[in-house]
Symmetry: C2
Subunit: 219 residues, 2 copies
DNA sequence: CTTGACTTGTGTATATATTACACATATAAT
DNA sequence: ATTATATGTGTAATATATACACAAGTCAAG
């Protein structure tokens, strides 16, 4: 059909992931080093060309796995980048996703990451990126901030049990703000997503903090 | 480069617009009748293939103009539809937009619409649509509802001068809710987007309603 | 073992935003 | 003049968000 017309021949669809974690108060993003031309050796977002026989979301999962070895649930589509000449050789439109992973889980993948060309970078020390990936990252971070109180993001950011001060620090790192402890606690509990475990753990302070967990039934 | 691999050869990018208006309390959407195979004669959203040398937004404007004769400012990107087999012949990803137009302006375009295959349909009486366009429309309407109090949508929905009851009816039609007159007025004025003209006009009632206009300086 | 430093846990008062609600007024038709 | 209809307006009640101070559990130092 329409592919006959040279005006729209040779288009391609890319999927790109901005994966964030928070490591000791520092927000980091996962980047991979390109190992082929063009832009060989440059850092870029993990991602690549969508296959013809897979859904967009599946293509994103596959590309992320191929490029980094990571399987990250709850990736969220967050943008489309379609400037005419954003890629060199052909017309590519990039569909952008973001996801988060807890520092706890990151450690399990350390060896995987080493064997790929992937590395975590503080979002304040991002190297020059290929194509328009800097713009994509910036946008993804905005979208992460917007959705950070939603349950799927919340559950991805933390492991099984966690303390409220711990959550608060992570939120403050990502959003770049400070919360009053009492008001933050009130807000978080009012979401009805977490419940008391009646255990305690030390987070940063001398006094042990109460451990919470996600509620099974997020009615 | 990557086009050599048959796994991702022959992909294409479509742009699709859901254009809404409100006609005497009825929310309508602009559809066009297909005039070629496949699905010849079926109703569908205006849209089509992106050209290689144009930005996404420009492609949308062009397609909308070609298919309907309308130029509609402030189209807003609102979704991506990328299921593997949503189109028949090749792998197409659709980038979806929505826009609104005031009934006042619609009337100026009546002749244009007749010469194209475009027609307005009540969103409660939408005919069977080509491909996955029904899903796209549903999503676009949701996104319209979410953004309806933002200035660009508001200004597109009305002509120069308007009354508050008039705005209220349009909002109630789109959102499917009822507002208290006093509270709606309070909310609308608190947005700082409109100002009193000190003129009056009759809308539906016997008592003339005050005319408002958009503020030039939307600080 | 007492004291000091540090971080956690908790409740209330204030301000802001949202919701609910009733009557007087301007016009057109009778 | 009377009636019908839709408009314009203010205040009280509720819900939500913000501001704020002190007691308690642990560890380290003396």
């Amino acid at each position: 059909m329409e592919t006959k017309n040279p005006k729209y021949r040779g288009q391609g669809i890319h999927v790109m992931a901005s994966i964030f974690t928070v490591d000791h108060g520092v927000v980091k993003i996962l980047l991979v080093k390109r190992n082929m031309e063009p832009l060989d050796g440059m850092w870029s977002l993990p991602g690549g060309a969508l296959y013809n026989d897979e859904d967009l979301d599946d293509g994103m999962d596959r590309e992320l796995l191929e490029k980094t070895g990571l399987i990250i649930p709850n990736l969220r589509q967050c943008g489309v980048f379609g400037k005419a000449h954003r890629a060199f050789c052909m017309r590519m439109v990039a569909i952008s996703y973001f996801g988060v992973i807890s520092q706890f889980k990151v450690e399990h993948f350390n060896s995987t990451l080493k064997s790929s060309n992937a590395r975590w970078f503080s979002i304040h020390q991002i190297p020059p990126l290929a194509y328009d990936h800097e713009e994509i990252v910036k946008d993804a971070l905005e979208k992460l901030k917007e959705g950070i109180f939603e349950s799927d993001i919340l559950t991805s950011l933390f492991s099984e049990k966690f303390t409220l001060p711990e959550i608060q620090r992570v939120y403050e790192s990502i959003l770049g703000t400070k919360y009053d402890r009492r008001n933050f606690r009130k807000k978080m509990l009012s979401l009805d997503l977490i419940e008391d475990t009646f255990e305690t753990a030390r987070f940063e302070g001398r006094k042990p903090a109460k451990l919470y967990r996600f509620r099974k039934e997020n009615k």
